[in-house]
Point group: C2
Chain length 414, copies 2
Amino acid sequence: MGLIVQKFGGTSVGDIGRIKNAAGRVMDEKKKGNDVVVVVSAMGKTTDGLVGLAYQAASKPSKRELDMILTTGEQITISLLTMALQDSGYDAVSMTGWQAGIETESIHGNARITNINTDKIKDNLSESRIVVVAGFQGLAGNGEITTLGRGGSDTTAVALAAALKAERCDIYTDVDGVYTSDPRYVKNARKLASVAYDEMLELANLGAGVLHPRAVEFAKNYGVPLSVRSSMEKLDGTIIEEEVSMETGLIVRGVAFEEEIIRMTVFGLRNEITSLSSIFSTLAKHHINVDIIIQSKTETESINLSFSIKREDLEDAIEVLQNNRKELGFTTIEHESGLSKVSIVGSGMISNPGVAAQMFEVLADHDIPIKMVSTSEIKVSVVVDESQMLKAAEVLHTEFNLDKAEQPQKVSVK
Amino acid sequence: MGLIVQKFGGTSVGDIGRIKNAAGRVMDEKKKGNDVVVVVSAMGKTTDGLVGLAYQAASKPSKRELDMILTTGEQITISLLTMALQDSGYDAVSMTGWQAGIETESIHGNARITNINTDKIKDNLSESRIVVVAGFQGLAGNGEITTLGRGGSDTTAVALAAALKAERCDIYTDVDGVYTSDPRYVKNARKLASVAYDEMLELANLGAGVLHPRAVEFAKNYGVPLSVRSSMEKLDGTIIEEEVSMETGLIVRGVAFEEEIIRMTVFGLRNEITSLSSIFSTLAKHHINVDIIIQSKTETESINLSFSIKREDLEDAIEVLQNNRKELGFTTIEHESGLSKVSIVGSGMISNPGVAAQMFEVLADHDIPIKMVSTSEIKVSVVVDESQMLKAAEVLHTEFNLDKAEQPQKVSVK
């Protein structure tokens, strides 16, 4: 008997039928004798509907008022799920973010959790009540309603699991686990029984989309065992933890890919010690995320600098750079679109040099030119032409033995 | 320059177009140099939609969880109206009930306001900001979200006007004022320029439907001048205040009517000193509102007792009475449906005896039998057959000179 935190995403509570199905999962866990805290997102398309209304009311709604309207989405779900539990004879209580003691920074739209006052939740758990908490939302010190930004409900669930010292945090979603690659596109993709936090972090950052990286990081920092599982089918999911069941000889654990990558190139940048930091701190100040960076030396006194950004940041990036051209000291900028990023991820790479070389070789063998490269201890990413993204993913998936069935073996990876 | 509280009901904020129209009314008042606090209801059919969801999730949703889900309705409206104001260049801020300092009893579904902590509103007003408050909702001392029950947004508006010592509380609605009778049914019904609190209270209680009686009572107790006006058309509305513009010789100010009245009769009630109080306290305990009561003496030791209730309370009333038959000491109960109540209301009646007699006479002249009668200082109500309700209203409207145009004259009625 322990405490389990369960999280149900928007699709898993998309209509009343699914909410009742989620209630069934909650009751299953409660029947085992566990205390249960449930975190829910807004129902399916509710958030989109509310955002739509906001943009009808104002051409540019303020972030504060967006938080005000969006937080109603989860408030609706917590009450409906609680009603469904009560209707089945279970004692349950719903709590908004502020009622659940979720304290955040005083920032709208993307606040971080600063503290969780668990008193009210604990009081209710001690009376054997199921506690249903609104994800994605919190209360700033100034009494303002805030939201946690994308993936916020995952973060709420993991933060609550950490604060309550939960045995496990189960993320129920519309996929049944973490796969070696996206099964919609890579036919041999297989579900992983387990994956390490760091691997998941790289996969999440690379757009695997199952879990928000902030939530994974939180889980890693506080050692919260996570599981990702299907809300619709009763299947084993994927466990995310520090110590994973390693597969014999499996160095790469997943192949991730992401479309709509833009390569920006800045020409004639002054070759000064602060040039790079100026460029990237200016972009960061405008919330433009830069991924891969390549600096090419030229024979003149100036530098050419390339970096990758997401499609959605292109207009902003061009505007920011042009507005600061003199100050940053460059001559022109260019960009190339129609690119994709393909990455291999695996903790096993740390102790296996040559993985990157093997990747480049197999891509060359299949006539896939590499436009940019970036490496970390457990990841190698390449930027390729969009038309070759899926082919690259397929050949890498095969090359690194991910097509084969898994034979778990417990190995410590950290 | 003063402080105006404006309230917009569900129809007046039913879609984005109407919300923008409401924003226009707010800005008009602000342009005059006034401070403005706005109270809004949930958009049009939102509440019905949420209640529908709740009854899909549970056969009998708990009151606490109903409060949780219903309060999202006003939260959506406050953010949208605030966005619309900001979009027009006005500084505005939205507040939920708990943020606005609306403190209530710890009761779900029908809490009364116990106190309003106006600090946060005043801070924002002092920075010349328009404050948009969610009606119908508050916070109980135990940190629970509560609702104020039917007409709750009217009550919020009036309570805020009282607490903030507002100059006026304007209730914007889908009718343009208070009428001498319901203009949908009584062709000669005219809009009143002003009406006294007590008259409005009787009219509201009689189903005139424009303003909730609790809000009128609050306004009367705190001397808050109210006005009822159209949110769509820019017309003078009706002022509700202590001192009204009396019309020469106009004793009756309005004719109200209400369908679906049930006459219950309890036979063979023991003729004891506690018999009546037992019956009515038992009904009250089950939230069954009894209106007109008639006790007829019989020659035996028992009493026959008739009283009127609303159609919606019939099943409950029968069940409660039957379950307590022995204890209450009666033999049988009967009920008659298909009845209506028609009432004349006017402060002028206090000093004009014979108004009731005049009413009975005109009804008799038109062959309308009276089934029950009840009188107060400013009201006479009769129960008649449903088929004769409108005819009764019409003849009374004419009899008491309400068909004629108004010629206001300032007279104190209290």
